[in-house]
Amino acid sequence: MPETTTYAKALNTALAGLLAGDERVFLMGEDVGVYGGAFGVSDGLLDRFGEDRVRDTPISEDAIVGAGVGAALTGMLPIVEIQFSDFVVNAMDPLINQAAKLHFMYGGRANVPLVIRAPGGGGTGAAAQHSQSLEAWFAHIPGLKVVLPATVQDAHDLLIAAVRDPNPVVFLEHKLLYKTEGHFEATDDVENPVAKIGESRVIRHGSDLTIAAYSIMTIRALQAAEQLADDGIDVEVIDLRTVRPLDIGPVRESVMKTGRLVVAHEAPIPVGVGAEVVAGVVESNALDYLLAPVRRVGAMDVPMPYAKDLEQAVIPQTGDIVDAVKEVIKS
């Protein structure tokens, strides 16, 4: 029977299933044990699986990711949690210079099946060093995969897919999504993931304009689409789900149908994923189908401010997507 649960609980269920189903899997990070993780994602796992496999670490992001690389290289399937994605910056050497490189640099003769889970995004009043959306930075590096689930079901399914992937995967969870409820069906089969990394998906069909989004902006895009429907604008929404690899095919096909494109992400616009999506469209014959200039929706180009009104102004909201869509439709 389908049921509902929260994004955090879906992640917890996926972790429990992975830990129960494969002894090579372990979870490691700051406060993942008795604390249950800063956002409660690993709640109860310590009691069930013990401190060896739900492993509290000191505040040492470099060592957490580096040890994850070493363990993955030698046959384990580590899932490391970095408490805020901003702190991955402290672990950029093991992530960028090690995890992403070793398979290639060693001639394809070694794998690093490491998953780095980290909460990203703003809206919690946590200011500039706890609110960033760094996915474009990670996605720029060959060797990494970057996954940003928007839905409760995807949080579960894509985490299983990430652990089953033989490559290092940066798995970015949005902090505001943790408590969101959604349709959920758990699977006991953690060996055969139902979701695949590198597949975007049309989650709302429409004919007037395409919105491509991921993570929380997918949810805001759906809300925008509902509002726009009241104005007679029929929007198609594509959830990119992973930004590396980026599955551009469905976006091109959608644009060939609607002729208009808005890309939405919470990260700042310059040199962001939005530019990559637009390039992926205009480098194909979908270019010929465009009826209007494309628009990117993203954060204002400043670090995240603390004050609530300032923060709300910086983060792209549902209304910003609505406005962007209307402008494109008008032009």
Binding site: D62, P78, P94, L102, Y106
Partner: protein, 324 residues
Amino acid sequence: MPRRDPSTPEGAVESLRLMWTIRRFEEAVEELFDRGQLHGTMHLSIGQEAVAEGVAAALETGDMITSTHRGHGHTLAHGADPATMLAELLARETGYCRGRGGSMHIADVAGGNLGANGIVAGSMTIAAGAALAERMKGGDRVTVCFFGDGAANEGSFHEAINLAAIWDLAVVFVCENNQYGMSMASDKGTAGGSVAKRADAYGIPGSQVDGNDVVSVFETTLEMVRRAREGEGPSLIEALTYRYRGHSKSDRNLYRTQTEIDDWRNLRDPLDRFEGSLLESGGVETGTIDKIRGEVRESIRDAVTEAFAAPPTTVADLEGAAYA
């Protein structure tokens, strides 16, 4: 049981052969570079052979190492095939990394070499993770993490040793102190007087050894490996040695004197000293030493020939190769 014991006559012959192999290998590589037959850059460990061999001799087959940008010696002592290494350096498809890694990234993960690393201190946390995995798998393999004196001042040094210490991981951290991090003298760049002393801060054994004395390096490592294997946790060895060549091929040696280099080479060379002590103790005869030298010279010459004959790398399958 260690794979070789340089304090015994039989083991000494094998260790001497390994040390000559490292030296001749690197001299061959240098010559190939000078002749323009090898591109890129390289970091030679000529003069440091006793550290690589003293440590690797104390390991068992199956034990793991992580290495550095100056890693030819570690890799060879840990069992790498010189011809396959040369194939890598000469950009051949048959090289350890199919020509994608080169001198700084020789790896043979299945064979226990988790990789030479181009990032200073880059492999220290990886070594801790490998040791963690080994314990979770119920194994007793030990991981040796080679690093340089320069790496001791990186943040990863602290994070890796702290992690290994709190979890009693089976890692032996081996600092190969060759006196300079590129041009920065170790004593100028390292607070506290020694790297080994820093072990106290983590509550683990720290030991400074004469890194140009292969037996002394071996004996210290043997004890640290024993305790690691028996679950007593990590340790830190600082082996004092000296690199004769420049940091890399661009080095003009402006930061040290020729007298200093000559003193180390003429008075403290690890091969001269090892051979001298073997002859003095009567454990090995001059004829045996000459024979080893000759055989090694020939084997490296053969390895170069073999590597040159191997097929060159190909761009055909680069596309998508970043991913497994």
